[in-house]
Amino acid sequence: MSEQAIECRALVERAQQGDTLAFSGLVRLYHQRILYYTLRICGNTQVAEDAAQETFIQAWKHIGQYELLAPFEHWLFRIAHNSTISLLRKQREEVDIDDMILPESSSTPEEHVERQDRIKSVQTAINQLPVMSRSIIVMREYQDMSYREIAETLDIPMGTVMSRLYAARKALKKALHPAMEVL
């Protein structure tokens, strides 16, 4: 078991006893991955932050029901998936892909604009996918999760993961074909 896993387990056990300090440690440990996941699903920083916050609030409420046998991050990603879907449904999926106000980097203004355009085109293509496919492609590409881990997290069969992933990649290739050629 890795050092992080041991630390996580200890924090989870304390959080299950109602220790808020331990829970804040868990938030610190996982907020980056969860925020990045929700951002890639929504494409809007404000909605992504709301979804990530909701994820941790729900995790706090239900941490007593979490069983230590399963990896904590899988459980957390499942909550993140449900929270994001719920938030998107409330907004009827009319979430604008924002320009992700990025700070000027050391690159030239042209490169900066080019980078922003590329990020936006990738995000637009992701947002056109059904929510479940979005989650699967984001978990695979950005969270580096295996098919089995995705299946367990989303509680769907492995075959569904494979077929949805294939369909998602096919749709993304179609949408991003010009950008792929430039790259």
Partner: protein, 218 residues
């Protein structure tokens, strides 16, 4: 090229292909240009998706946001009085009384309907009770008449008991009182509901004490 073949290519790219299939797919790849192009496209797509990954992560997520995010979450938990939920807050736990009531009603109505049918003689009374009655009487007859098997038993004890049991009124009364599912269900449901309420009450007490302890800065 069929979709399931492409799924194999995808699994190969993701490192998820079954080891036994890897040589087969690789051999096919060496001769099939369409599959080579497909595999290359998967790689290109992945590269495009990750092109600005690290930069985006660094600039958008990490910088100066960690503390603000953690503080906001913890503030919401504290100020909103958000408590941890347990099994006692789950829908399953809350639906137990409704389930008990449903079972109780079902048995009561079923028993009433059966009684009605028996009264109207739609179902002959004997067909319901005779099986139980005959087997019980046979057992008692065997027990009470076998003096050798039980020398302590008085010789006439069995006979008196038989006479009593043969009396149909006594049998019906005994049957209705002891085997009446409506009565048994009512008792079981009452015990289960009382237990459910007691557990819920204890949980509420415990939660209240905990919240008081936290309020007092414990």
């Amino acid at each position: 090229m069929k979709a399931h073949v492409k799924e194999l290519l995808q699994a190969l790219y993701d490192g998820e292909l079954d080891e036994s299939l890897v040589p087969v797919v690789e051999k096919h790849l060496s001769t099939c240009e369409a599959c080579q192009a497909e595999l290359q496209e998967i790689g290109q797509l992945s590269s495009l998706m990750h092109a600005d990954d690290a930069w985006l992560m660094d600039t958008l997520v990490v910088t100066q946001r960690e503390d603000a995010f953690v503080n906001e979450v913890m503030h919401q938990i504290h100020s909103g009085g958000i408590e941890q939920r347990s099994f006692f807050d789950s829908l399953l736990w809350k639906s137990i009384p409704a389930g008990l009531l449903g079972v109780w009603l079902f048995i009561q109505v079923g028993w009433l309907v059966l009684q009605g049918l028996l009264t109207m003689n739609v179902i002959p009374l004997t067909s319901v009770k005779n099986g139980w009655l005959n087997s019980t009487l046979d057992t008692l007859r065997r027990f009470s008449t076998s003096a050798d098997a039980n020398p302590v038993a008085p010789q006439n004890w069995g006979g008196n008991l038989q006479e009593m049991l043969v009396d149909r009124l006594h049998i019906d009364f005994l049957f209705d009182m002891l085997v009446n599912p409506a009565l048994i269900t009512t008792l079981i449901v009452a015990v289960m509901f009382t237990s459910w309420f007691a557990l819920w009450w204890l949980h509420q007490e415990k939660r209240y004490k905990k919240s008081q302890f936290q309020k007092n800065g414990g």
